[in-house]
């Protein structure tokens, strides 16, 4: 009885905390709060680390929470910069977006799988549940274990947009995991599974498939050949100013872009000036 009441309480408290966290405001002063996508977060951490070494007076506070939370935070002013790994929806277009990096999405299978290449159409059919058996793809008579991300995830949003398109849904029979890491973990253990993760996180425990004959690599992404590329966005309410501006300028500088290239991301094309990649929706 007692433990149950506590249990109810605990889950309710968790909900409360989630809400209060999304409402809390960062303290004023020389402080910069950057919040949002967990896909962008590790790279923003890296930027913040180097940036703070150069600007000792300015504290950059990087928080996760997800793309939607980041967009929300930028809108409400809870964070000066929101991070998103998916494109904005229509009702979110009042924010200024800056593409700070690009990331490939890799479709991954177990290293022991004989599969090397799929067409985008095949990937779509597998994830929508039209192809349920490996037979026509690899000859193995075994059901496909499709692994996807949860609703609201930026990675899922990008995959939906780039592969599934408007009309097709990811099958509701697909296994759902809540991070790139767990998707990779499951695929690396299950020889009959298929999933998708950020290209920068592919390691030798999984195999990234080539799509329509194009291997997934930085090279093919820079040549605009690889089809699954998503932008990493910084979002501000109105044009960035003050500390936010300084941080974004650093991020877009050759030094900032070099940092994330070392971490496996694709820099925004060096040719265009930083302000050129800034878009303002009205």
């Amino acid at each position: 009885m007692n433990t149950m009441a506590r249990k109810t309480l605990a889950s309710a408290m968790a909900l409360l905390f989630a809400l209060s966290a999304s409402c809390s405001r960062g303290p004023a002063g020389r402080q910069l709060t950057v919040a949002g996508s967990t896909s962008v977060q590790p790279f923003a951490d890296r930027w913040a680390e180097v940036f703070m070494e150069k600007h000792p007076g300015l504290a950059v506070n990087v928080q996760g929470g997800g793309s939607s939370a980041g967009i929300q935070a930028a809108k409400s002013g809870a964070a000066q910069i929101g991070m998103s790994s998916r494109e904005l929806k229509l009702d979110e277009m009042d924010l200024t977006e800056i593409v700070v990096a690009r990331d490939g999405l890799a479709v991954i299978v177990h290293p022991a799988s004989p599969l090397r290449n799929l067409t985008l159409q095949e990937v779509k059919s597998v994830f929508s549940g039209e192809i349920r058996n490996w037979k026509i793809l690899t000859g193995q008579d075994r059901e496909i274990d499709v692994v996807t991300r949860e609703e609201g995830s930026g990675t899922r949003g990008a995959f939906q947009e780039l592969v599934m398109g408007k009309g097709k849904r990811i099958s509701n029979r697909a296994i759902v995991e809540d991070s790139n890491g767990t998707v990779r973990e499951i695929v690396s253990n299950d020889p009959f599974s298929i999933g998708y993760i950020s290209l920068g996180l592919v390691n030798d425990r999984v195999r990234a498939l080539s799509l329509d004959g194009v291997t997934a690599s930085e090279d093919t992404i820079l040549k605009n050949e690889y089809p699954l590329v998503r932008p990493f966005l910084f979002l501000t309410r109105g044009p960035a100013a003050g500390p936010a501006r300084e941080f974004i300028d650093f991020v877009l500088s050759p030094e900032g872009q070099d940092l994330i290239r070392q971490e496996g991301l694709i820099p925004v094309t060096a040719g265009s000036p930083p302000s050129g990649s800034e878009r303002r929706h009205e």
């Binding site: 433990t3 149950m4 249990k7 939607s68 609201g152 296994i175």
Partner: protein, 291 residues
Amino acid sequence: MNKLDRNERLVKLALLVLAFSAVAVLAVITVFIFSEGTPIMFRHGLGKFLFGSDWYPSENSFGLLPMIVGSLFVTFGALVIGVPLGLACAIFLTEFSSPRLRRVLKPVIELLAGIPSVVYGFIGVVILVPFIRTTLGGPGLSVLAASIILGIMILPTIISISIDSLQAVPRSYREGSIALGTTRWQTTRMVMVPAARSGIIASIVLGMGRAIGETMAVIMVAGNAVAIPGSPLSPVRTLTSNIALEMGYASGEHRQALFATGVILFIIIMILNTIATASSRRKGGKGKNSR
């Protein structure tokens, strides 16, 4: 004397305030969850919410049926595994084992309750899931895996409360039965267990509450697919996992829909809680009469 009296009153008042603050927190949470969660249920229609099987929050389609069914399946599976094991263990420890063995085993079993659920989940992912995948097929992340893990997690609840209620049966019952020439097993089956029945039922309901409320371990081993599972080897998503999985990313209606998930969970747990209270109250009444 007067001073003592005043102290007494002060202590009483302080305790009263403290007691009410705990209740107030519960009240605030209840009001909050319901005020956040119920509007969307009525906006989209209660029937669609409870019996719709499409959960695609990005397309404003919020059907909770797969999660409600999922929670019930997983909880039922946990009971199928946990109840026979737990009861057998409780009966053995009270009726058949030596007191010394019981003194060692009971604390060890209660220790099971102290293991964090994420550890159960991790063991499940590393050992149980691959085992199910290779021996029984399917992705391994399944109703079965979640049921087994939860079945083990509810053991301490079932065992310790059942032991307490078996031990609370008056000595004269057992002695009377044995005096009639029954065997130990006959005494257990026909006298002890029926006499302790309400306590045993309470232990099962409490275990059920624990199983339905568990989140972390279930997320790790259940696979979380939003479809009504077709077999014990299919992946499944529970109500609690639904909230925990999507909470971080949800905004707008999606977030309200997660609160609505909380409302349904709240109602289910309240019902279970009431049953548990009612059955343990009955036990208290019986005990008084028999004494």
